[in-house]
């Protein structure tokens, strides 16, 4: 095994760590500058190579860590130096960060390669050649920022990556920025993701401020070193930090209440969903909590909160996933749910379990998304075939008339035969996700459940329920997509994707199947690997590393979870195979699109509409905000402040004053008033016509008045 304990000394490549950032940068720059003249394949190759090389660097770092598990920090340059705020561009090489690098670069490379094929097809279908370059530039940018995130040796640099990946997410969700609902839907989804993430970042920022106020540094090591003193002095401060940070985690890792962006993020191309919104970026929150474990370790209430948030999210998202029809949406909610598992794990302190699940999840969820992408393109190809090869023009028109959604599972079915490789890899991924032994998901999920069963019953129950749902909706999905009869023309004409896509799928399938080997309960390789980094007081460390009281494997826990998963699969088979077939006998008009719709009734609608959380947010937050800002802008600032106050009160007031005063010089006003009075009291109607002023005498009168007043002053003084 690669990560064997044996070697105590070995080659040291720590100095290479900046290259995990620079390599994607180079790839990106090449494509930006010369990309216009390069061919599609070359662009993709450059980008993939850059990522692949970054992976090589990560491997070298891992190799070095075998011999020098204490790791190293490589400081590249100073960044912000202001007063006692000293932040540098520093890279941390330790087992935790290297794990992340490996996952990011490894999965990333595979997805890059896959994307060469996928995006080629995309280009064919959407017809904009420059997109290809843009896609890979953004993809490399993502790897770059993600690497910054995971390799930072301080919170601020981590934040750079943190927001950077958010940016890439924004860009890639809105990649087809002129598509989506009303042509703007995708762009809106991107904006939603960014802004929601910003809310999380707001929490992160506050955490950073508090941290600086208490520790005067952002450096991981320096912060952790001071924890004991600070915890004694001001535990509330650390609680504030951790809770603020939780807000950031909720944003990035799509936890309640900020998870809403992730399902919409599926608007991006599928490789994006796989890489960013499943495997890597969304796990940044998990990484952050794992990284900040020493902080969380001293405030148990924060830990509880995190764990509960994670567990609740896991169950909540799981329920929604049951009632979705979009193939990617199901996976998206599944991702949210699985992220809940991880967050709950690291929240409880089970860092290894959480990280372990992070890694395996990266494998199988990436696999699932990519396969889904393959399915979608298969369907699209099928649709394309139907459109172009159909002899009857009429049918094409009829077909084009209604919107065809290649991602809707209700349009699929029976693909098992038409897309064999995709089917098999998908199946592996699904089993892994469902947590059925001996695939990777089982081991990692089981470890989390095991820890939960010891540490927090509530979390355990929630997660178990979520695990059950996981198996169920995955079963549902596989059955709806691959089994049964084709439910649309396109599905019937779907075809398998090319090797550039299927080969990465197969590799990922292998990892998904075997990933469990990383941290079998009996060897705990991964745990030992991480223990060099997660260094804290003994008692806590045991929990973190999953070594508590020799609990290595609990057959009861494993049995329950496996059993539930199997039941769920069977249930899914019953509902979506048996009952579905019976349903088909109904006339099409009365036929429900989902067998469960009838059974669950309003509950299904509730789930299908995601508990109307989006609508709730619109009602409670967004619409009031928009209304308020409109009110401020149009009424307060413009009408009142600008037009009324400035233009009317000040400007017009002055003009009026000027006019009144100059009229009074004429004394015409007094004249008019006097005449008016005269007219009112006497028969002065004629007099009104005779308004005429004797200027000279009025002027003299003014002088006279002045004299009288001055004399009066002198007398009365």
């Amino acid at each position: 095994m690669l990560l064997s304990e044996g070697a105590s000394a070995g080659p040291q490549f720590f100095y290479l760590v900046p290259w995990v950032v620079f390599l994607p940068l180079i790839g990106l720059l090449i494509n930006v500058i010369f990309g216009g003249r390069l061919s599609e394949k070359l662009i993709g190759t450059i980008a993939s190579t850059a990522t692949g090389l970054a992976f090589v660097v990560a491997v070298l770092l891992a190799v070095s860590l075998v011999g020098h598990p204490e790791g190293a920090t490589v400081t590249l340059a100073d960044w912000i130096i202001s007063g006692d705020l000293q932040v540098s561009w520093g890279f941390q090489v330790d087992t935790l960060s290297t794990t992340m690098m490996l996952v990011v670069a490894g999965v990333g490379t595979l997805i890059h390669i896959y994307a060469i094929g996928y995006m080629h097809d995309d280009v064919r279908h959407h017809g904009d050649p420059s997109r290809y370059r843009r896609f890979f530039v953004f993809f490399n940018l993502f790897i770059l920022t993600m690497m910054v995130l995971v390799s930072a040796d301080n919170y601020l640099m981590l934040f750079v990556g943190w927001e950077g990946v958010g940016l890439c997410s924004y860009l890639l969700i809105g990649f087809w920025y002129d598509k989506g609902e009303k042509g703007i839907g995708n762009a809106l989804a991107g904006k939603k993701a960014f802004v929601t993430n910003r809310i999380g970042d707001f929490g992160f920022l506050l955490a950073a401020f508090t941290m600086f106020a208490m520790f005067r540094t952002f450096n991981f090591e320096d912060v952790f070193r001071q924890i004991p003193e600070v915890a004694e002095l001001l535990p509330v401060g650390i609680l504030m930090i951790t809770l603020f940070m939780l807000l950031g985690v909720a944003g990035k890792s799509a936890q309640i209440p900020l998870y809403v962006w992730l399902p919409d993020a599926m608007a991006g191309p599928t490789p994006v969903s796989a890489l960013i919104h499943a495997a890597t970026m969304v796990t940044a929150g998990v990484y952050l909590v794992a990284r900040s474990f020493p902080l969380y370790a001293v405030v148990p209430s924060a830990q509880n909160t995190v764990a509960l948030v994670g567990a609740a999210t896991a169950l909540f998202a799981g329920t929604i996933a049951v009632a979705q029809f979009d193939i990617k949406k199901v996976l998206a909610y599944s991702t949210i749910s699985q992220l809940g598992f991880m967050v709950a794990a690291v929240g409880m302190g089970a860092v290894v379990a959480g990280m372990f699940h992070l890694v395996t999840h990266a494998f199988f969820k990436a696999l699932l998304f990519l396969s889904a992408g393959s399915v979608i393109q298969g369907i699209e190809r099928g649709e394309h075939d139907v459109e172009h090869n159909s002899k009857s023009k009429k049918s094409v028109k009829a077909h084009a008339g209604q919107h065809f959604d290649p991602q809707d599972m209700r349009n699929m079915g029976g693909l098992r035969k038409r897309m064999k490789i995709t089917f098999w890899v998908y199946l592996i991924g699904a089993i892994a996700l469902a947590g059925i032994p001996p695939l990777a998901g089982f081991w990692s999920k089981d470890e989390i459940l095991l820890e939960a069963s010891h540490l927090s019953p509530t979390v355990y129950y929630l997660l178990t329920a979520a695990a059950f749902l996981t198996a169920f909706y995955m079963g549902r999905q596989v059955l709806m997509v691959f089994f049964g009869e084709s439910r649309s023309e396109a599905a019937a004409h779907a075809s398998e994707s090319g090797p550039v896509m299927t080969v990465p799928l197969m590799i990922l399938a292998a990892f998904s199947a075997l990933g469990g080997l990383l941290n079998l309960p009996w060897t705990h390789t991964f745990g030992h690997w991480l223990e060099h980094t997660v260094k804290i007081e003994e008692a806590v460390q045991e929990i973190a590393l999953g070594e508590e009281a020799a609990v290595k494997f609990d057959p009861v826990v494993a049995g329950i979870s496996t059993g539930l998963a199997l039941i769920a699969v069977v249930l899914a088979w019953y509902v979506y195979d048996r009952r579905y077939k019976r349903m088909l006998e109904l006339p099409p008009a009365k036929r429900p699109d989902d067998p469960l719709r009838g059974t669950l009734g309003p509950v299904f609608r509730l789930l299908e509409n995601k508990y109307w959380v989006d609508e709730l947010y619109w009602m409670v937050i967004l619409n009031p905000y928009i209304a308020l800002s409109r009110f401020l802008a149009e009424q307060v600032d413009w009408r009142f402040w600008h037009d009324w106050f400035h233009d009317r009160v000040i400007t017009r007031g002055f003009n009026l004053l000027a006019r009144v005063l100059s009229v009074q010089i004429d004394l015409g006003v007094i004249d008019a008033i006097a005449n008016w009075l005269g007219a009112a009291t006497q028969r002065g109607a004629e007099r009104l016509r005779q308004i005429q002023t004797g200027y000279v005498r009025n002027y003299a009168l003014s002088v006279f008045l002045g004299v009288i007043i001055i004399l009066g002053y002198l007398i009365l003084r």
């Binding site: 934040f159 002129d178 904006k191 950073a208 600008h642």
Partner: protein, 506 residues
């Protein structure tokens, strides 16, 4: 004249040379006028680089000082006193840097009365540089008011539909503030027998209540210029109506004169008043941040959106300055530069599209990224910089400011409450809302307006105006250390003086 050979006088008055040359050009020689102005401003920039080279960052005091007696009377003296220190060096460079860029941006946009335009522009540069270098209150006031005149013309002659209204409003608003400052300056001159700022600071000892009054009088001038909420009503008008280059300079430099005034005069001259006023100013700043961001969002006119965003951004600057600690002040100064770069660039960008389509209504656009990919990408970077994305300049400034403000929120800090920083940090979210909204309205979505289909992407000249800004945007974002180094000693000295004042108060 030896007088003109001092580096600081040279950099201040060099544009006059260009003005002289321009005066001899015929109105028809438009291209020549453009070149003369561009070259003059470039040389001025080069001179300011020379100033930077001679500047010793480790020295907290005024450097390259020139102090010549000017008007000497019994009981008061006015001197031609210029100097540069950590507070002003960056702003000096920003000014000389943005001027050639602005001039370049007018190459095709301004075709009417080019000669006059360039004359006013160079005069404006003279005034702005003078403001940042003057160390004598009289001299400062002259430059301060002088900048009004060319800007007034730039808006009024080359502006948009309601340009006259906007120009007069700009003039009157700014003047309204500065006349109060004039009184305060006169009072100080009588009190100290001199108008030299360092001498007045050294003399100190202004009684507390009077300090507060003087502080308010100075603050009135600067707050209008900044503009701080609720004195910002002139800004949208001025920005919307001003020609592109005018907006760039207005946002990039003129507004900074206000914030600079605070840090150069209000804080060191009236430290006790500054300490007392800090929470109030910070409260206004925070309101400005949130208000500006919220009001930006529903705007239809891109320029107005950017204008209101300035209110928000300068709120950050003010918050930082009145955190009265090193991070806050340094962040504030850096953010002045950042705002100059980002908002300047945004105005350039708006100008480019306006030149093509003659509208700034966001509803008239959509999907431009497809038509103008380079333009779209550059806009995106600038927008991100403006909303404070880490790795770009805006973040460095905003983060240090907020950090400073949070620090000042601790017991014993200048602000005394964490709420300032916390609420201000909300502005970071709101910035994303309006900036992304703008980007979406302009660039994303389908190209559904026929007029937009045939738009040409930006040309090399236009790229050339943006590239220097982008370089700095990245530079400050990734390696701001040199910028902090330039100002750190001066700021530290200022903070130390404040601490002394705070001790004296208790």
């Amino acid at each position: 004249m030896n007088f003109l050979l001092y580096p600081l006088t040279l950099v201040t008055f060099f544009p006059l040379l260009g003005v002289l040359v321009l005066l001899f050009l015929k109105p028809e020689q438009k291209t020549a006028a453009r070149w003369v102005a561009l070259i003059t401003s470039l040389i001025t920039f080069a001179i300011s680089i020379g100033v930077l080279v001679q500047f010793n960052p480790a020295n907290p005091d005024l450097q390259l000082v020139i102090d010549l007696p000017w008007i000497q009377m019994a009981g008061w003296d006015i001197s031609f006193y210029m100097g540069v220190d950590g507070l002003s060096i960056l702003l000096l460079l920003l000014t000389t840097f943005l001027t050639p860029i602005s001039i370049l941006s007018t190459w095709t946009a301004v075709d009417d009365r080019v000669k006059e335009f360039m004359i006013f522009f160079l005069l404006l540069e003279l005034g702005m540089v003078g403001v940042f270098l003057a160390q004598d209150l009289f001299l400062f006031y002259i430059f301060w008011e002088f900048t009004l005149v060319p800007m007034y013309f730039l808006i009024g002659i080359w502006g948009g539909g309601r340009r006259m209204y906007a120009a007069v409003k700009f003039f009157l608003y700014t003047m309204a503030g500065s006349i109060l400052m004039l009184l305060a300056i006169l009072w100080l001159g009588i009190y100290g027998g001199t108008f030299s700022v360092p001498d007045l600071i050294a003399k100190g000892g202004i009684p507390g209540d009077i300090q507060l009054w003087l502080f308010i009088a100075f603050a009135a001038a600067f707050a209008i210029k900044v503009p701080m909420w609720p004195l910002h009503s002139w800004l949208p008008d001025a920005h919307v109506e001003a020609p592109t280059a005018g907006s760039v300079i207005l946002a990039g430099v003129l507004l900074k004169m206000g914030t600079y005034g605070f840090v150069r005069f209000n804080i060191p001259l009236f430290p006790q008043a500054a300490l007392q006023a800090a929470p109030w100013i910070a409260a206004l700043a925070v309101i400005g941040i949130l208000y500006g961001a919220m009001v930006s969002y529903p705007q239809q006119d891109v320029k107005k959106l950017v204008a209101y965003s300035s209110v928000s951004h300068l709120g950050f600057v003010m918050l930082g300055l009145f955190a009265l600690n090193p991070q806050g002040i340094q962040g504030g100064i850096l953010q002045m530069v950042n705002h100059g770069l980002s908002t300047g660039a945004l105005f350039l960008i708006v100008g480019m599209i306006y030149e093509r389509r003659h509208t700034r209504d966001m509803d008239k656009f959509g999907g431009l990224w497809k038509v103008m990919p380079i333009y779209g990408t550059l806009t995106l970077i600038v927008a991100l910089s403006s909303m404070g994305l880490p790795g770009l300049n805006g973040f460095v400034g905003e983060f240090t400011i907020l950090l400073g403000a949070w620090d000042a929120g601790q017991a014993g800090g200048a602000l005394g409450s964490y709420w300032f920083a916390a609420l201000a940090a909300l502005g970071v979210i709101l910035a994303a809302v309006y900036m992304l909204y703008m980007f979406q309205k302009l660039f994303l979505g389908p190209v559904d307006k026929e007029e937009n289909r045939s738009l040409k992407d930006i040309n090399w000249r236009e790229i050339g105006t943006l590239i220097p800004l982008l370089v700095l945007i990245f530079w400050i974002g990734l390696y701001p250390k040199p910028f902090f180094t330039l100002m750190a000693p001066t700021v530290d000295k200022l903070v130390a003086a404040l601490q002394t004042a705070a001790l004296a108060m208790h």
